[in-house]
């Protein structure tokens, strides 16, 4: 583990630079514990794949105090991966057709039928490694290597909200309409992010997600 300053108002706690469920679980556990124990001066704690960003008010605390607090937290955290905190979140998806304009291209890339792509996408449970890009956008993985088509070279200007995409070994759902470069294989009606709910984000770091074929899917 390495703690690096990132300017005078943030430190980055860097774990092994890999996309790995265990490392990610450790990042999330460190983030949760820092949020629970750090007092005044803490602005935000941001776990990612294998790092934790700690934003602080530089007039109230500093790198030295934070690095000490981080060392304390890391020392007392259990080494084993904590049990999944919540039951898998099920996301019903209409695959293919107008809902998944890239499903056929992904199938062609994979040398599979569209139905086989859907079967492989729905076969796994995915870990939510981190949220980013826009509010509620969950980066999930890892996608079966046989359907892990690379993102488009030129992003679409508009990807509709609810679109389900693949980008290499990552999969995710666009919570709002934005530009985007992922291969769009389907669409869900679930609202991934809604500030009117008590918990705005449907899927949070460390959660498990399963995609299921929804009624009305063009491909099943």
């Amino acid at each position: 583990m390495d703690v690096r300053p990132c300017g005078d108002a943030m430190i980055l706690i860097e774990l092994d630079p890999v996309v790995d469920a265990g490392v990610n679980a450790q990042a999330i556990a460190i983030a949760d514990e820092l949020r629970r124990t750090l007092g005044p001066g803490l602005r935000d704690v941001v776990p990612a794949y294998c790092s934790v960003g700690v934003h602080f008010d530089p007039l109230l605390t500093d790198h030295v105090a934070l690095e000490r607090a981080v060392a304390d937290v890391v020392a007392r955290l259990p080494r084993s991966e904590p049990a999944t905190r919540r039951a898998p979140i099920e996301i019903p998806v209409r695959y293919g057709g107008a809902d998944g304009p890239d499903l056929e291209a992904v199938a062609a890339w994979a040398g599979l039928t569209v139905a086989e792509v859907v079967a492989r996408h729905t076969a796994r449970e995915y870990r939510v490694y981190m949220l980013g890009f826009v509010p509620g956008f969950a980066y999930m993985g890892k996608v079966d290597a046989s359907i892990a088509a690379p993102r488009h070279r030129a992003p679409r200007e508009r990807v509709p909200a609810g679109s389900v995409g693949i980008a290499g070994e990552q999969t995710g759902v666009y919570p709002i309409e934005t530009p985007g470069g992922w291969q769009l294989i389907g669409r869900t009606d679930l609202r991934m992010f809604d500030t009117a709910r008590a918990e705005a984000a449907l899927a949070k770091p460390g959660d498990t997600v399963r995609f299921v074929v929804a009624p009305g899917s063009a491909v099943s």
Binding site: D8, L12, E14, G132, F137
Partner: protein
């Protein structure tokens, strides 16, 4: 306790509601937003006796025309605009009284890019989202329907029953002639860059591209080349992070930045210089200089002292 309305007669180029930012939700991918020039935002609130997190209007390059239907006190800080209150020019960082029907019109801009208009009694009272009124344009969150203000919008404002005593401050020293030097601390991937790149970064000016916005400034200049081809695994980003995509054109991350990203960061602008960065506009020139942590801390304390001079209670 809403008692007044601020009506947007003309919106200006880009006028948004901003408070101290939507901190605490970046783990869910929620960007912070907030003022591009946090110093001038706080100064505006201090001068009218508001808490520092009260929402102000951030006014960009071309200012709006506003009409108020209540009796209150206002102030404009930051960029140096001619502010006309019922036709009378009010100097920057100087409080002024408004009556029902008073029109506040922004005229010519002499320096800086962004002004902050604060209203006494607690500021702009649009509905908070996740605890903040800051507008984040890309995600359409906060402020008024998550967007820039348009003609005809009406903003709820607080009541200011007791008149605020007149006050005047010395505001932020604005970048002269559209040039600024921003001080940097080394970024988390500084060792990814060639010595030549670091030399280019600190010896040549960069121009702020027209493809710049509240998320970040694209900086045109000599490309910053790397020692390695790969990209870091996506990690948290700071206000002022200077990230460098593969083409070598740096992007200075500003108030509406994403929560995390996967480009290497060569440096981070020190907190004391972020307000200056927030006063830059497309076409302006910026130079960078690395400093150490002690210099960054000293500069921040100096900025804070400048603000604390105005921290006395505004009403007696």
């Amino acid at each position: 306790m809403t008692e007044g309305r601020l009506r947007i007669v003309r919106p200006g180029l880009l006028t948004t509601v901003q408070d101290a930012g939507r901190w605490g939700h970046q783990a869910l991918g929620v960007p912070v937003a907030g003022p591009m020039d946090p110093f001038s935002h706080r100064l505006a609130n201090l001068l009218v006796g508001n808490p520092h997190g009260a929402a102000t209007l951030e006014i960009t390059l071309i200012g709006p025309e506003l009409e108020c239907d209540a009796q209150t006190t206002m102030v404009v800080t930051g960029a140096d605009f001619d502010v006309l209150v019922d036709g009378v020019v009010v100097p920057s960082a100087t409080t002024f009284s408004v009556e029902p029907g008073t029109r506040v019109r922004f005229g010519r801009r002499a320096a800086g890019a962004r002004a902050y208009l604060a209203v006494a009694g607690g500021g702009i009272l649009t509905a908070p989202v996740l605890g903040s009124r800051a507008t984040h344009l890309v995600s359409g969150m906060g402020g008024l329907d998550g967007r820039a203000l348009v003609a005809g919008d009406e903003l709820p404002i607080a009541a200011a029953p007791t008149p605020v005593r007149p006050r005047r401050a010395i505001g932020l020293a604005l970048p002269a002639k559209g040039r600024a030097v921003l001080r940097l601390l080394p970024g988390p991937q500084i060792d990814w860059f060639t010595p030549d790149a670091l030399s280019v970064l600190t010896t040549t000016p960069f121009q702020i591209s027209t493809r710049s916005n509240r998320m970040g400034y694209r900086l045109e200049g000599a490309p910053l080349l790397r020692r390695r081809e790969d990209e870091p695994i996506s990690e948290a980003l700071a206000f002022g992070s200077l990230q460098v995509p593969a083409a070598g054109t740096p992007i200075l991350l500003m108030a509406d930045r994403q929560t995390a990203g996967g480009y290497p960061k060569v440096g981070t602008v020190i907190s004391a210089d972020l307000p200056v960065a927030g006063q830059l506009a497309p076409g302006d020139a910026v130079e960078f200089a690395f400093v150490d942590r002690a210099a960054a801390a000293a500069a921040l304390i100096a900025r804070e002292r400048q603000l604390l001079r105005y921290a006395e209670p505004a009403s007696s």
